[in-house]
Symmetry: C2
Subunit: 131 residues, 2 copies
DNA sequence: CAGAATCCGCGACGATACTG
DNA sequence: CAGTATCGTCGCGGATTCTG
């Protein structure tokens, strides 16, 4: 990197953007969500539970979330390796904030669909197939 | 699109992912944030206030946010065109949810930086500046 | 003043191996 | 079982130019 790590000055002080950077990416939320439901999960258990994720993305996302202090990784030195993941306290606190946002999203889904019906011709989502 | 619009089945029912899709993208939050502070702003006022945004991205983001019902657009039929933007009630409600997330982010900034200091060599942010 | 249209780079992500 | 490594794709967003 030619400058500092992104999180040291991401939006230079906007904690919201910082938070969204932490939970951004395609797979972090699914992981967090799964760990919130099942409390603690092994690697392949997560992989099976999250549809479509590859080893690479799962590993990478888990490492990042652990680095951020959102999830906890416990490795057991056994012959067939066993690694368990769970949410940290910060992860649990995150869930609370996310639920508020989810509540808003639930309401908005209706609104957006209706707005789209009214304004649809101007939407930036072009249709390129006739099927 | 070859299938339905993304928001009609984004995560097929996860309102959280839906919400994040609404406020995702690079400029939507800065726009929302600016409108929340100044209540109502004109186009070029927004453009000046949001550092680095181009006409294209501003126009596009404004249209999307309006389509989603998060912001309101008022056009005045005057000789020098005048357009004013402001948050809708849904936009205001969003701000509330975002503030909780921002609070979490504020706490996490400290945590992440400290974790990084300890775990830094394993971070996924490679240094390739001299290669 | 308030946009619209086009081209393009880059980084996130996917696919596909290989390993202790 | 729990990862790593490498390569290729794809689309968001940046830069630039044009218009009512």
């Amino acid at each position: 990197m030619d400058d500092q790590a992104w999180y040291k000055n991401s939006f230079d002080g906007c904690p919201l953007t910082f938070a969204l950077n932490l939970i951004g990416g395609k797979w972090r939320l699914p992981i967090i969500w799964a760990l919130n439901k099942n409390r603690t999960m092994r690697y392949n258990e997560l992989k099976r539970s999250i549809d479509g994720i590859t080893n690479m993305m799962l590993t990478q996302s888990l490492k990042e979330l652990e680095l951020y202090g959102i999830i906890r990784r416990e490795q057991f030195p056994e012959v067939p390796p066993r690694v368990e993941y769970s949410l940290t306290e910060h992860g649990e606190e995150l869930m609370a904030a996310l639920k508020a946002l989810a509540g808003w999203g639930k309401k908005m889904k209706t609104v957006v669909i209706q707005n789209n019906i009214e304004l649809e011709p101007a939407a930036g989502i072009p249709d390129s197939s006739d099927s």
